[in-house]
């Protein structure tokens, strides 16, 4: 078995075993306390080989700006569902720290493979918010060009995208490029077979993939205890010969610290890593779900106290980095994007029935051309009668 250079160094430097390096810390990595203060080093949950430097204040202020925008986007989209402008929206309200960190830890040439709940991460990566919402508006099964910002298409089957991430990383590695791929999934998805296959393939081929599991405690209604009895999801990594880490998913400071290091290790050729973020889905699965059927208000309130925005706001205010003016400016940035979403989604999409046939193959088959002509003919005959109405 090949032991990554970083692991060898940690083993030597701290006198720990390779298992200690690969296994996650006890508890989790947390740098910013729930009341918004930076914890002393000995209280961050770190152990030898699991130390993470605190990101710069500049990086943290930008992360906070993105959190404010992400929260606004989530709330705006939920409102647009209620107004009938979106068919559905799986909100990441409460998980914005994970969303923001997932996008900010990557370089331009890197790739991200998101899930359906990761629209805020997709937008933070640079995808136009209205294009990111096409899928949920329902005028096409995807709205953005994955190649433009190196963001895989959001898919509703669970975990299948992890293998696509592995393939993108594999192609990059064969060409000698230093691309890193962030492969995202949730806690429920770790039960799927493709989770196992993706981790194993990435490890066997020693690929620069960071698996980022947002453990928001529920797969629709099913709690984590029904998915696994493993000590944690991060523990699954060691079974594939990769390092796993557990991090407070509502602490954007810790998330950036852990993901930044994971990405730089992957880029340096250490092979894949897995990061599990402990977080909470504050709202129902989607607008079609009723979360009161499977969890109680006390639990939700306990997590509300750990809100990622409040913690960062408190920290940045107390250190003087976040003034009222800056806060107002950030709110303005968020409102601008919310306005863009409202404007973009209030325009009725131009639907072309011939689009149904256009993209099934690079060139339509004779059969698709026939069917396309059939529909065109049917519509041409319908039009006069419709005009009469």
């Amino acid at each position: 078995m090949t032991i990554p250079a970083e692991a060898q160094e940690a083993v030597k430097r701290f006198g720990i075993s390779i298992e200690d390096y690969m296994l996650p810390v006890h508890g989790q990595i947390q740098i910013l306390s729930e009341d918004g203060t930076i914890l002393p080093e000995d209280q961050r949950g770190s152990t030898p080989g699991h130390q993470y430097p605190v990101p710069s204040d500049k990086e943290l202020l930008e992360a906070y700006r993105r959190l404010v925008i992400g929260r606004r986007v989530n709330d705006q989209n939920s409102a647009l569902v209620r107004q009938g402008r979106l068919a559905v929206y799986p909100s990441s309200h409460g998980q914005e720290a994970c969303q923001v960190a997932a996008a900010l830890c990557l370089r331009d040439g890197d790739w991200m493979f998101p899930t359906y709940r990761d629209a805020v991460a997709v937008m933070t990566r640079g995808v136009d918010p209205v294009e990111a919402m096409t899928l949920f508006r329902g005028d096409w099964h995807g709205g953005y060009d994955p190649h433009e910002h190196h963001v895989g298409i959001q898919s509703t089957p669970l975990t299948t995208q992890l293998l696509h991430a592995v393939g993108v990383a594999h192609a990059a590695k064969l060409r000698g490029e230093d691309t890193v791929v962030l492969a995202m999934c949730g806690d429920g998805a770790t039960s799927e077979g493709d989770f196992h296959e993706a981790l194993n393939f990435a490890a066997v081929f020693h690929l620069p993939v960071v698996f980022f599991v947002q453990n928001n405690q529920y797969a629709i209604s099913v709690p984590l205890a029904h998915q696994t009895v493993a000590p944690s999801l991060a523990h699954k990594a060691v079974g594939y010969g990769m390092a796993g880490e557990r991090v407070d998913g509502n602490d954007v400071v810790a998330l950036l610290a852990v993901l930044d290091r994971a990405v730089s290790l992957a880029r340096a050729g250490s092979g894949p890593l897995l990061v599990e973020a402990n977080t909470y889905r504050m709202q129902a699965h989607t607008n079609a779900d009723d979360a009161t059927r499977y969890r109680n208000e006390a639990e939700v309130q306990a997590w509300a106290a750990k809100d990622p925005l409040h913690r960062m706001r408190h920290y940045l205010t107390s250190t003087g980095h976040l003034t009222d003016d800056v806060e107002t400016a950030f709110a303005g940035d968020a409102e601008e994007i919310a306005q863009h979403l409202r404007d973009g989604l209030s325009v009725e999409p131009q639907l072309d029935p011939q689009d149904l046939f256009r993209h099934v193959f690079t060139e339509p088959t004779p059969q698709l051309r026939e069917q396309s002509a059939f529909l065109a003919d049917e519509l041409s005959r319908e039009e006069p009668s419709q005009k009469e109405h």
Binding site: S155, P157, H164, V168, A172, F201, R358, V360, P366
Partner: protein, 351 residues
């Protein structure tokens, strides 16, 4: 007997033509030629590297192109196809091997939900130039899960092309076209034909394919035996019994045309309909079980397009609607020349 041998020898001497080549060799050569022509073409799957595949179809590729371009994967079909999708997204042209037809089913979600739909979902911005090779069908005495005819699952899935050669030349030509295609292709290889031989000049075929000189085989059925009285429509493993039946029918004075689909998707209605309009009598032959099958689709298309040219109802000779039988029972299942001849006899000739 001697006259046949003499004639064959005379033909060979007269043309000083090409050596006999196996179907398997044509497939291997197609991959090797494509890999030489394009660094992005890579081959992977289970046992394909050092071993050269359980059928030896990838034999020699690792030796020539190295372990970066022909490699073994962990034993997981969904992983193989899902990873291939990502590689195709990122500039490669992967060819993956599913070891056997029924072993490809774990990959079905990746194939049906992602490989088939990505181009459509992204409005053509993500192309997936990948080939999924599937050794399929029976006739080799394979034990359970080794002989399925799974083509209908793929043909039924919009967004997938489905190729299935039945001759040595088509094995080469169609595989080169599949690799060159910007659409994903499920490439169904009738495994009982792997060891069949024909005198084919692969070097000449290579030149023709690379010069894009000939007509593409994709979407073009071939009249592999001309005839005037009835048409047999078949593909892949059903071509040999169809040709044998046509030969036997000729001895009885009946001229039977055989049409080889070559590609199920895209489907060549034009060639099929032209033959049916000419002969007016049709038997569709397929090894797969008949219910809700490719054969059903062919019958439906023929009657929709050629009803007024038909002198008799279209008949089918297909596998029975049963799980593929054990080795000692498969001869009762497989469409035979006799069964095809019986179906031909049923085409209301007395009218």
């Amino acid at each position: 007997m001697s006259t046949v041998a003499e004639a064959a020898a005379a033909r060979a001497a007269a043309s000083a033509g090409p050596e006999p080549v196996t179907f398997a060799k044509a497939l291997t050569t197609a991959m090797a030629d494509a890999m030489r022509a394009d660094d992005g073409v890579i081959v992977f799957g289970e046992d394909v590297a050092k071993l050269g595949g359980v059928f030896r179809i990838t034999d020699g590729l690792m030796a020539e192109f190295g372990e970066q371009r022909c490699f073994d994967t962990p034993l997981a079909e969904s992983g193989i196809v899902g990873m291939a999708l990502g590689m195709a997204m990122n500039g490669m042209r992967p060819i993956v091997e599913m070891q056997f037809d029924a072993f490809a089913y774990p990959a079905f979600e990746q194939i049906a939900s992602h490989v088939a739909k990505m181009h459509n979902r992204t409005r053509g911005r993500v192309k997936l130039p990948m080939v999924i090779r599937v050794p399929y069908a029976g006739g080799i005495g394979g034990v359970e899960h080794h002989c399925d005819s799974s083509e209908a699952y793929y043909a039924h899935t919009p967004g997938l092309k489905v190729f299935t050669p039945s001759s040595v030349a088509d094995a080469y030509r169609l595989l080169r076209e599949a690799i060159a295609s910007d659409d994903p292709v499920v490439f169904m290889e009738p495994k009982k034909l792997y060891w069949s031989k024909e005198a084919v000049d692969l070097a000449a075929l290579r030149e023709e394919v690379e010069a894009k000189a000939g007509q593409k085989a994709e979407g073009r059925a071939a009249v592999v035996r001309p005839g005037t009285d009835a048409t047999l429509i078949a593909y892949g493993p059903a071509i040999p019994p169809a040709l044998a039946a046509a030969e036997a029918a000729a001895e009885e004075g009946r001229s039977v045309e055989v049409v080889d689909l070559r590609t199920i998707v895209p489907f060549d209605d034009e060639t099929v309909s032209a033959s049916v309009r000419k002969t007016g009598r049709v038997v569709v032959v397929a090894e797969a079980q008949g219910f809700a099958s490719v054969a059903s689709e062919i019958v439906a298309r023929v009657q929709e397009r050629c009803f007024h040219s038909l002198a008799a109802p279209v008949r089918r000779v297909t596998g029975f609607d049963i799980p593929f039988p054990p080795p000692k029972l498969e001869h009762w299942y497989l469409p035979s020349a006799d069964r095809i001849l019986d179906a031909l006899d049923d085409l209301q000739w007395e009218d």
